[in-house]
């Protein structure tokens, strides 16, 4: 390994609008022939920093040096000219084009030759690294993993020496991840520099040579992976040694609230996203849902909420607290479920794209789920205004006023508005997806506290999370999804992180068996 900086960042600052500072005075180096992991929590500015290297954004101040010379990367084309290629989380592919056409896009024909030459080159790259891409296949017919492969091939074809991968494993199966890592090691051996943006520590330790850590937009440190431990990296990532001190009250009187059996759903591409999932959720407990992202969490919550169509044979029964009567939720729409008197609250993952209306103020957002209440054709404006004031005060929402559009608020405040509204409707079931993603520690604790309050009230809380420490500290039971199947349910008090991690990545042969014992 040469000890020469391929890329150097010097005092990079980038802000969005006047409030959000994504990167603040960041200086760091990437060497030739190394794999560097860029580690940080969600919202720490990793992707923004790399987007400046790939020409998507432009820094407000500071310099970028490539091979020791200052460069101005004003467009992705500039980045490619410098041998920098980035694989984005959302693939930059044209759906109606073939693999070959996507590779050819933006390239000079004199360099590439015609479609045949390109197809040949694609096959060569594939053979060298063990990829599998059909040059004639249209992108809209490809699986996610195939699309990612195509993206990497595209970058390699363009002669990328510096390859940036933004959370590449989030959409991959463990086998695919292993394959990817093998390829990355080959490329490193070729002298290429590889930057992996990630927040998964096990991957950092498995693949990288060095780790650079960002926290809240600021550069913290770079360490050799060999000298790092999970503990030391976590400390740097979160800032201080975090003893997760989340309360977990013990509730004696647990009542069956939701009974899910044989739930099977397809995603929007027609691929099975949830496969024969069965479990129960009880009032007075927090049930955690763990799994690598895209394991069916979204479909699980949305099918309970009435937003996702389920296949026949699926059953979601809601047990009424008053009468104990069982109501079937499958096949019901959101408004039908509401009309049945099922008090269901749902904090979705996409806060501004689904949970709230960004251009409306707090007050108007408060009535999103209850605007139909009351007689007559006009909306009741007083109740939501009062509720907005109450939420603002109790959850300490920082906003210029309750009619300021919520998209102008910071991420934490947006989440408080959303959670505040969902809790205010006195639910019997509360579902929260990635409720603390991108939030600071204080706000996160506020959210944990709110969830616990609900639990104490006898609400059945379903918490989908990505941070295992939080899941293990907060939840009474944790259901682990793996590739759309329920791979087991563990007790949050006794389970270890390794145990859950294993369930997330390795599908048991008899995944459905484990739950029976844990349920008791």
């Amino acid at each position: 390994m040469e000890n020469k900086a391929a890329v150097s960042f010097r005092h990079i600052t980038k802000a969005f609008g006047s409030k959000v500072v994504a990167n603040k005075d960041v200086s760091m180096d990437i060497m030739r022939g190394e794999i560097l992991a860029l580690l940080g929590e969600n919202g720490s500015g990793k992707t923004t920093l790399m987007n400046m290297l790939s020409g998507i954004y432009h820094q407000d101040s500071g310099q970028i040096l490539v091979d020791g010379e200052e460069v101005h990367i004003n467009s992705p084309k500039d980045a490619y000219a410098l041998g920098i290629g980035m694989i984005h989380q959302h693939f930059k592919l044209v759906d109606v084009f073939t693999a070959t056409e996507n590779v050819a896009l933006g390239m000079d024909k004199k360099q590439t030759g015609g479609a045949k030459e390109i197809a040949k080159a694609i096959t060569e790259i594939c053979d060298r690294y063990g990829f599998d891409v059909d040059p004639k296949k249209k992108v809209y017919n490809m699986t996610v993993s195939q699309k990612q492969t195509l993206e990497i091939v595209k970058a390699l074809y363009r002669g990328a020496n510096i390859l940036i991968l933004d959370e590449p494993t989030a959409v991959l199966t463990p086998q695919e991840t292993d394959k990817l890592f093998a390829v990355l090691r080959n490329m490193k051996a070729d002298g290429k520099s590889i930057i992996i943006i990630t927040h998964k520590l096990n991957e950092v330790l498995a693949i990288s040579d060095r780790v650079s850590i960002l926290r809240k937009g600021e550069y913290i440190d770079t360490v050799k992976t060999a000298e790092a431990t999970v503990q030391s990296l976590t400390d740097m990532m979160v800032g201080q040694k975090v003893e997760l001190d989340i309360e977990r009250p013990e509730i004696e009187d647990k009542q069956l609230r939701l009974s899910i059996s044989h739930l099977t759903c397809l995603d929007k591409y027609g691929v099975t996203a949830l496969d024969d999932v069965s479990f129960d959720a009880f009032g007075g407990e927090i049930l955690g849902i763990a799994g690598i992202s895209g394991s069916g969490q979204k479909q699980l919550l949305e099918s309970i909420a009435g937003l996702q169509k389920a296949e026949s044979g699926s059953s979601i029964e809601y047990i009424k607290p008053e009468s104990g009567a069982r109501d079937q939720l499958i096949g019901k729409s959101v408004s039908e479920i509401k009309k049945m008197g099922v008090a269901l609250s749902f904090v979705p993952e996409d806060r501004l794209g689904m949970g709230l209306v960004g251009t409306m103020g707090m007050s108007d957002n408060m009535m999103l789920r209850s605007y139909e209440k009351g007689h007559g054709m006009f909306t009741d404006r007083k109740t939501p205004r009062n509720l907005a004031e109450k939420v603002k005060e109790e959850l300490e929402v920082v906003t210029p006023g309750i009619s300021t559009p919520v998209r102008k608020l910071s991420g934490g405040n947006v989440q408080k508005v959303l959670v505040g509204r969902e809790i205010a409707s006195n639910p019997t079931v509360l579902m929260a997806a990635y409720a603390v993603r991108g939030l600071d520690i204080n706000t996160s604790y506020t959210i944990y506290h709110l969830l616990n309050e609900q639990k104490k009230k006898g609400v059945a809380v379903i918490y989908v999370g990505e941070d295992l420490d939080v899941l293990l500290a907060l939840c009474d039971r944790i259901a682990v999804l793996c590739g759309g199947k329920l791979n087991g349910i563990v007790d949050g008090r006794t389970a270890t992180k390794e145990e859950v991690g294993l369930l997330m990545t390795n599908l048991k042969e008899d995944g459905q068996e484990g739950q029976k014992n844990d349920n008791d």
Partner: protein
């Protein structure tokens, strides 16, 4: 008779073919230019202004130089429609204004400009003529091959047109090959489908949008020029061009954004536009009054709607409008 019908249908179709080819090129970049009707008016009137100035500068009409008589209106037309495309591109691409509103404003402006100069040109330049009649220059535009008339039906259907008609077909074929076969065409399609991807691949999105919109406008403008200089023999009448601009947009949908289909499509639409004049001759037993004519003129639009519905129901990816059609692109959007 059927020969003369096809001949007239082609002549009706040529302005539509220019308009549709121009709009396809424009829409492939993701710009839905609803200003095309205005652009075609401007193309026509710019040519008229050029020809008018040229004819008035001649002491004697017989002294007209064929080269100048063609080049002056042609260049004026290209310049006028280019400027319209430029206004649209500047507003939608650089200033990111809403495409529908900008397009409709261009149409209002362009049709107004055409009718205004059409109605006031003589007064403004203080010329001493009763009306705009450009028979001298128009003669050169509608000149056909001398032997076309002698070749019977073949000559009538294939050879008996002014040079702009052949230019329209050539441009449509070239545009089709450009979009399908060239790298630049691939880049252009990517800009219209997914500008962020094209941008990330190093395609200059703004440049493609500007170029395709301006070139598309110039092609469409030629449709206006063909109409005044050839089809109506150089006699401008206000609103004479009618709704052909919108018909060109309909043709774009009808041909599912394929310029080579537009060649046949334009003749079909042109035929539907005039078929009422021939129905009596084809089918003497069916009474065709003016009312029926109006209903028949509706046919291209009805057919287009049916094609639009059919394609959306079938939902085949290749037959959909460009995915980013109508949206402006901002790289730092998040």
């Amino acid at each position: 008779m059927i020969v003369s019908f096809i001949h007239r249908a082609v002549m009706q179709g040529i302005p539509l073919l220019f308009g549709a080819t121009g709009e396809i090129i424009t829409e492939k970049s993701g710009n839905l230019n609803l200003g095309i009707p205005g652009v075609m008016y401007v193309g026509g009137i710019s040519g008229v202004i050029g020809a008018f100035m040229y004819e008035n500068s001649l002491p004697d009409k017989s002294m007209a130089n064929p080269f100048l008589a063609i080049m002056i209106p042609l260049l004026c037309c290209l310049l006028g429609s280019f400027l319209m495309g430029l206004i649209y591109s500047f507003l939608t691409t650089t200033l990111r204004a809403n495409q529908n509103v900008t397009g409709l404003a261009i149409t209002t402006f362009g049709v107004g400009l055409g009718n205004f100069f059409g109605g006031s040109l003589i007064k403004i330049v203080g010329a001493d003529v009763p009306s705009i009649t450009l028979s001298t220059t128009s003669k050169f535009f509608s000149a056909t091959l001398p032997f076309a008339k002698d070749l019977g039906w073949f000559g009538e259907i294939f050879l008996n047109y002014g040079f702009l008609a052949y230019l329209a077909v050539i441009i449509a074929i070239v545009a089709s090959i450009y979009l399908k076969r060239t790298r630049s065409g691939l880049n252009l399609r990517a800009v219209g489908e997914n500008p962020a991807t094209a941008d990330a691949a190093g395609v200059n999105v703004s440049r493609y949008k500007y170029l395709s919109t301006c070139i598309g406008s110039m092609i469409a403008g030629l449709g206006g020029l063909y109409y005044v200089m050839d089809y109506v023999s150089g006699v401008w009448s206000n609103d004479g061009f009618g709704d052909r601009g919108w018909l060109a947009i309909a043709l774009v949908i009808f041909t599912v954004w394929k310029p080579n289909f537009a060649i046949i499509g334009s003749i079909l639409f042109g035929g539907l536009y005039i078929v009422h004049n021939y129905l009596n001759q084809f089918f003497p037993f069916i009474p065709v009054d003016m009312g029926t004519q109006e209903l028949i003129k509706m046919a291209p639009y009805v057919v287009t709607v049916l094609v639009l519905i059919f394609n959306s129901m079938r939902n085949k990816r290749e037959n959909q409008p460009p995915e980013a059609l109508g949206l402006s692109y901002f790289r730092e959007d998040r």
